[in-house]
C-alpha cells in the first residue's frame, strides 16, 4: 500500500534521513523504532508531505505522491496523528472531529465515534485543549477514523499516557486493523509495539538498519531495549 524508496531528507544542511526504503502492505500495522533523533518522525512527516527538503519516492497504492501537497495526500486517505496530538484550542471537540473532510470508503459516523469515546461526546462543545492528555490522544485517533483514513500515520500515540490509556490506544489500533485500516506507527514503547504491530523497522542515524518480524522483536526484546537505551 505504502512504498518508500531511497528517501533522504534534510533539515537545512543536516541530513536526517539517508536512502530509507520500506513498504507497508494493506492491513498491516508497522512500527518505526529507534533512538531519539534516528529520523522516525521526519520519515512520517515526509510521507504526510509536511517536510520540505527531501528526495526519493513515496508511493501510495502504486501512485507517486511524493510531490503532492499534504492536503491532497490526506484526501487520498492518509490520516495524520501528530505527536503533539494536534488539538485545536479554538475549535470545539466536535469541530476537531469534523474538521477533516471524509475521504475513505469507510468513515466512522460521528455517532459511532461518540459511542466508542463517551468522554468526547460529553465534552463535545468544549475547547479541545481542555481535554486531558489521554482524551486528546483519543480525539486525534478518532478524528482520522471519522475521516475514513486508510493509512494512519501515528507519531508516538502512547507517549505520556498511563498504562490504562496505552491499553485503550492499543485496543483502538486493533479495531482499526480489523476494519482493514493500515497503520504506520512511530513508537518508543517496544512492549506496546509488539502488542499491536506485525512488523518493525529499526532506524539508526537516518537509515533503516533492520527489518524485523514481530516474533523476532519479541525474542530479542532485551537486546533491543538496551540498544534503544530504554
Amino acid at each position: 500500500m505504502l512504498r518508500v524508496d531511497n528517501l533522504s531528507a534534510w533539515y537545512g544542511e543536516a541530513q536526517v534521513l539517508r536512502d530509507v526504503s520500506l513498504d507497508v502492505a494493506a492491513g498491516e500495522v508497522v512500527t518505526l523504532v529507534g533512538r531519539n533523533g534516528a529520523g522516525k518522525s521526519t520519515l512520517l512527516r515526509c510521507v504526510m508531505g509536511l517536510h520540505t527538503g527531501q528526495r526519493g519516492t513515496v508511493e501510495l497504492d502504486g501512485r507517486d505522491i511524493g510531490r503532492l501537497p499534504a492536503y491532497r495526500r490526506a484526501r487520498l486517505g492518509l490520516g495524520w496523528v501528530p505527536d503533539d496530538r494536534g488539538s485545536y484550542a479554538t475549535l470545539s471537540v466536535a469541530e476537531n472531529l469534523t474538521l477533516p473532510p471524509t475521504v475513505g470508503p469507510d468513515p466512522w459516523p460521528l455517532e459511532r465515534v461518540y459511542e466508542a469515546f463517551p468522554a468526547l461526546h460529553q465534552r463535545r462543545d468544549s475547547a479541545a485543549t481542555t481535554l486531558s492528555g489521554g482524551e486528546q490522544q483519543m480525539l486525534a485517533l478518532a478524528r482520522v477514523l471519522r475521516m475514513g483514513a486508510r493509512l494512519l500515520l501515528c507519531d508516538e500515540p502512547t507517549e505520556g499516557l498511563s498504562p490504562l490509556l496505552v491499553q485503550q490506544v492499543g485496543d483502538l489500533l486493533h479495531e482499526a486493523k480489523r476494519h482493514g485500516v493500515t497503520v504506520l506507527l512511530v513508537e518508543q514503547n517496544l512492549h506496546f509495539a509488539t502488542g499491536v504491530a506485525d512488523r518493525h523497522y529499526l532506524l539508526a542515524e537516518g537509515r533503516v538498519v533492520e527489518a524485523m518480524e514481530n516474533s523476532e522483536v519479541r525474542s530479542r526484546e532485551r537486546e533491543l531495549l538496551s540498544y534503544l537505551g530504554i
Partner: protein
C-alpha cells in the same frame, strides 16, 4: 450625566471604526501571518472612492457602501496574488517594506490627482437628522454607524464560529502548518480572506466619508491607533480586536472629555494603555502565545 452618555456614545462610534479596521487586520494576520501596514490606505480609498463616485458619477452613499468594499476586496485579492503571497517565505522585514510601500503609492496616487485638501461628503439625507434618546440628542448618522458596525462584527463572528468556512479559517489561523494534514487546502482560503479584510477597511472608509475629513492622509492618521488596538486585543485574535476597538474608542473619548486639561495625557492615553497591557499580558488581552514551531 448627559455629557457622560454623549461622550460614551461618541467613544463607541470612534470605536466602531477601530473595530472594523482591527477586525480586518486580525483576520489577515491570522490567515497569512502578514501585518498589513497598507490597511489605512484602503480605508482612505474607501472614503475617497465614495467621494469620487458621488461627485463625478452621482452614485449615492448607499450604492458606494456596496460598491467600494466589493471593488477594494477584489483589488486586495489581486494584490495578494500579485505580491503579498511572496511574503510568507520572506523575512518579516519585507512584510513591512512591501505593505508600507503600497501605502505610500496609494496615498500619492490619490494626492497627485486630488491634492491634500479635504473634500466634503454630505451625510445621506435619510440620516441627516438626529435621534432623541430622552436625555440627549445624537446625530442619526452616528447611530447608524454604530448599529451597522456592530451588525458587521456580529455577522463576521457568526460566520467564524458557526459555519464550516469559519471553522477552516480558525483552524488555519491557529495551526497553519498542521491543518493541511487534515485535508484542508489552506492556500485556497488565503486570497479570499485577504480580500475580505481589505473590504472591511473599505467599508469603514465609506462609513467615515460623511463624518470625517476625506483626504489622502486620513488613513495614515488613524492606522497608528488601530495598530495599538490590534496589539492590545492580541495579534490575530478576532474577538480581541473588536473588543479592544470599542474599548479604545471609549478610553480616548473619556480621556479627551475629562483629561482635556492634561493634553499630554489625553493624547497619549491609548499608547499608555498599550504599554500597560503588554507588561501585564505580552500576547495582548485575548491573544495566545504562539506555539513553539
Amino acid at each position: 450625566m448627559t455629557g457622560f452618555l454623549q461622550n460614551t456614545f461618541n467613544g463607541l462610534v470612534s470605536g466602531a471604526f477601530y473595530a472594523l479596521l482591527a477586525l480586518g487586520l486580525a483576520v489577515i494576520f491570522g490567515m497569512l501571518r502578514v501585518v498589513n501596514f497598507a490597511h489605512g490606505a484602503f480605508y482612505m480609498l474607501g472614503a475617497f472612492g465614495a467621494y469620487v463616485l458621488l461627485s463625478e458619477a452621482g452614485v449615492p452613499f448607499w450604492a458606494a457602501l456596496v460598491i467600494m468594499p466589493l471593488g477594494l476586496g477584489l483589488l486586495g485579492m489581486a494584490l495578494e496574488r500579485a505580491v503579498i503571497h511572496w511574503l510568507t517565505r520572506l523575512d518579516p522585514l519585507y512584510n513591512f517594506l512591501l505593505t508600507f510601500g503600497l501605502t505610500l503609492i496609494l496615498q500619492d496616487l490619490v494626492k497627485s490627482r486630488y491634492g491634500v485638501q479635504s473634500s466634503p461628503y454630505a451625510t445621506p439625507s435619510a440620516l441627516s437628522g438626529s435621534v432623541d434618546f430622552g436625555l440627549f440628542d445624537f446625530p442619526a448618522y452616528r447611530v447608524f454607524i454604530l448599529g451597522f458596525a456592530v451588525l458587521v462584527c456580529v455577522a463576521v463572528w457568526w460566520v467564524l464560529t458557526r459555519t464550516r468556512v469559519g471553522m477552516v479559517v480558525r483552524a488555519a489561523t491557529e495551526r497553519p502548518e498542521l491543518t493541511p494534514a487534515f485535508g484542508i487546502n489552506v492556500g485556497r482560503w488565503v486570497t479570499p480572506v485577504f480580500g475580505f479584510g481589505i473590504a472591511l477597511a473599505g467599508l469603514a472608509g465609506v462609513l467615515a466619508a460623511p463624518m470625517r475629513a476625506v483626504n489622502p492622509l486620513m488613513g495614515a492618521d488613524l492606522i497608528i491607533v488601530v495598530f495599538a488596538v490590534v496589539v492590545i486585543g492580541g495579534l490575530g485574535s478576532i474577538f480581541g480586536s473588536v473588543a479592544a476597538g470599542f474599548g479604545i474608542g471609549l478610553v480616548q473619548a473619556w480621556g479627551e472629555a475629562y483629561l482635556s486639561d492634561f493634553p499630554i495625557v489625553s493624547q497619549t492615553i491609548v499608547f499608555v494603555v498599550m504599554a500597560v497591557v503588554l507588561l501585564w499580558r505580552p500576547a495582548g488581552l485575548f491573544g495566545r502565545e504562539e506555539a513553539p514551531a
